[in-house]
Symmetry: D2
Subunit: 141 residues, 4 copies
């Protein structure tokens, strides 16, 4: 049994919902990306930030996402999602995350978002606002 790394600065607990399962009897692999994203957004709220404020001049599209699946999750099981910021550059934020259940590793993931300015419908890379970078600092490992 691989034990979870408990150095993560942010954690939340969830339960598998029926619509998240598939005919193989387990959570569909694509939904793990939603679990990690939901935890990332909860981390932003924990930092008193909103990742998608309607009046914000910047947006945060994904540039990459990957997940490794170690064990399946099933309907109604409770699990923990842990997230940390693994790297922050002037224009991108990289995360690492882990899903565990009773201390057992279920899935590990990493993903990266970029700060963009919306310019006539196009996304242009831009610097992360200073206050956002400041507020996210405590979540870096």
């Amino acid at each position: 049994m691989s034990m979870s790394d408990n150095r993560y600065p942010f954690r939340m607990t969830r339960r598998v919902q029926f619509s998240e399962t598939d005919v193989a009897g387990i959570v569909h692999f694509s939904n793990f990306f939603r679990y990690f994203e939901d935890a990332e957004h909860a981390l932003w709220r924990d930092a008193a930030l909103q990742i998608h404020a309607e009046t914000s001049p910047v947006g945060w599209p994904r540039v990459a996402a990957s997940c490794q699946y170690h064990r399946p999750l099933r309907f109604e099981q409770e699990f923990d999602v842990a997230v940390q910021i693994s790297e922050m550059t002037t224009r991108t934020i990289a995360y690492a995350g882990e899903i565990t259940r009773n201390g057992e590793r279920i899935a590990t993931a990493s993903w990266k978002i970029a700060c963009v300015r919306l310019d006539a419908g196009n996304m242009k890379s831009t610097d992360i606002p200073q206050d956002v970078a400041e507020r996210l600092k405590p979540y870096r490992r």
Copy 2:
């Protein structure tokens, strides 16, 4: 066996995808609403219309949706989605739809959308544009 009504003015064929199934081994009931919506939007394209054009001053939120489930659908099965406009008022459009497989009725649905003007983030009921009403007329039964 209840046979399908083939008087519908618009039809499309689809196949069940893996992520649309659930642990009970069948398509999750919420996805039938997506099947019907996808067919509705295909009907609009067939009428040379776009239900969500970026420059459009109006939007089309759902005001009601209902579905009756007669038989399940399973992974990789092909099925037909038929749609008609059952009623059009000055401000709303009501649809009726049917999903069938090999002539057997799988699900029947009805739903209604309203024409709204987006006003500082709020939705206000407004008249259906004349050209939209004209182009949708052939799909009324």
Copy 3:
């Protein structure tokens, strides 16, 4: 403003997740059915029941579902989902539900599930087990 009916025997609170929104800026209408289903399953857990136990001889497919949409929900908004059993026959359970936010009615729904026995891949209507009927009684209105 239409105030919520607080006679519901079961309630839960949720928050809108990013993946539940659509390009119109609001929660996609199909996801309301998932919100109501998640609350229904939480009601079953509250009654010390599992709606989809792996060893259970019976299943509970939907036979009908409908929803009326009064106001939109947006990303990160918190809302309440209330559910009650509106009717129970020997073989079916009908529910009514309501989604509210700050006391304002967002959506109302009704749906029905049937008790079926799985027989060589086919679903056959069967009587609701006695213990299930007993445990669900407190949620009837």
Copy 4:
């Protein structure tokens, strides 16, 4: 503009559906994994195989999945999904895929599935059946 690699042995064309978009106005990143999976399953059908046959003694869970996002997709846009088998071992199959639109690269992905035997609810790694390996050979690059 990065041009697409047209050496892929399998391709399909799709259109973005409304429920696949999010409040940022683009396809939610998690849905790209569903696009690639749908194409993978279409590849299996093209090879006269079923990845999830009800009577099959083996299953094919994901062990890893990753995607890089180069450009966004928007509602109603048509796009191409190309898939190839990049590596096949005795027990795993690795895929590479690419989504393009008008020859422009939208997303690139890689993922791996494992052949497992279902043993009292547990998944145990097992050898890929000979006929499956044979039929998938033409899709290797």
